[in-house]
Subunit: 195 residues, 2 copies
DNA sequence: ACCTGAACACCGTTCAAGT
DNA sequence: ACCTGAACACCGTTCAAGT
């Protein structure tokens, strides 16, 4: 019935979504109430209706990230037809590759660095890493490695995950894909790269 | 001749040193003029005698880091008696391990995250990574791998470097050392961890 | 040559008041 | 139920003035 311009009325999710965009683009410290309010078309005072303060917003971001990472492992588990090696590749591509959730692909490293200085972020990262570790180790055990060997290789896989997210490389997309493929083959015990 | 209390008079290096402490402890965005001035016992106004502005201080930090990383590669090259595998372990330990320069050990990841949002930091990180890559690849080539295989393994080694710097693990120091040892053995082509 | 002190702009937080 | 607007504290930057 109303003919007036749509008044901007927000819910906490809208603030969290906007906050994650800022986080991914420019780090935790760019997640500021006033610029965020401007982006959302409201005054900064209204933020405090939805959240107690800035730390409460940051906690909500972490909760959303943890949820998403857990979902991801569940989704991969759903690929009943995929081999352990294919699941590893899926995990890599869904975390840092082309199939990664764009909302979080760039947020991953921002969150990881944030965790160096904020105990709340440390807890979230530790939880996600621990879940990933168990998952990845199980893959390698599924490939026939001993528990010790699986832990070693899982550590290297997680390193690869981080390196792909973090390192700036002068490399074409094809070269990257090929190199990642050889890396996974190496970790999985095949040695196609030796030739 | 003067009997007065030592007046606090600083040079640019003193500001850079204090800035790196803040960077390592709490990230780039904690490198703020006013708190830094307080730590150094002067007023913030005096900062602008030594530096044009905050970006100029940040640029000086990056220059110092690049210098240090280059020095590190040179120092390792000086270990004429060390095998390629031992050099890799040295690089790892001097970058993230117990032998790392304490001024920069914690700054490493802070700088890397910083590079996601600041082009000047991107340039510095890219330069350091490129130099490290060449160096590490040469180690693997020295171990008898083809260029392609060396590049693959160098990528995994850099990942390991990042993982050790970044990941929060529930692991004793002994377990960590053993796992890192097995990781290096695996990358170097030995397979002691299979047993 | 280096530092102080006062000034102004920007963001976090609060809160009384609006709709 | 959600938003505005004004208020106050903190940090970046400038600059005239001190020693």
């Amino acid at each position: 019935m109303s003919a007036e311009a749509p008044r901007t009325r927000l819910d906490p999710d809208a603030w969290i979504g906007g906050a994650i965009e800022l986080l991914a683009a420019r780090g935790v410290n760019a997640v500021k109430i006033e610029p965020l309010a401007r982006r959302l078309g409201v005054t900064k005072g209204s933020f405090y209706w939805h959240f107690k303060d800035r730390p409460a917003l940051l906690a909500a971001i972490l909760a959303r990230w943890e949820e998403r990472q857990t979902d991801l492992l569940v989704r991969i588990a759903g690929h009943a037809d995929a081999s352990p090696a294919e699941r590893l590749r899926l995990l890599l591509e869904m975390t840092v590759g082309a199939y990664a959730d764009p909302e979080f692909r760039n947020a991953e490293i921002a969150i990881r660095n944030w965790s160096r200085t904020d105990p709340a972020a440390t807890v979230a990262v530790r939880a996600v890493d621990a879940r990933r570790s168990v998952y990845i180790e199980d893959f390698f055990i599924g490939l026939g490695f001993t528990e010790t060997a699986a832990r070693t290789r899982a550590g290297l896989f997680q390193g690869l995950l981080l390196a792909e997210a973090l390192l700036v490389r002068d490399e074409t997309a094809e070269d990257r894909t090929a190199r990642v493929g050889r890396s996974l083959d190496l970790l999985a015990g095949r040695h196609r790269d030796e030739g």
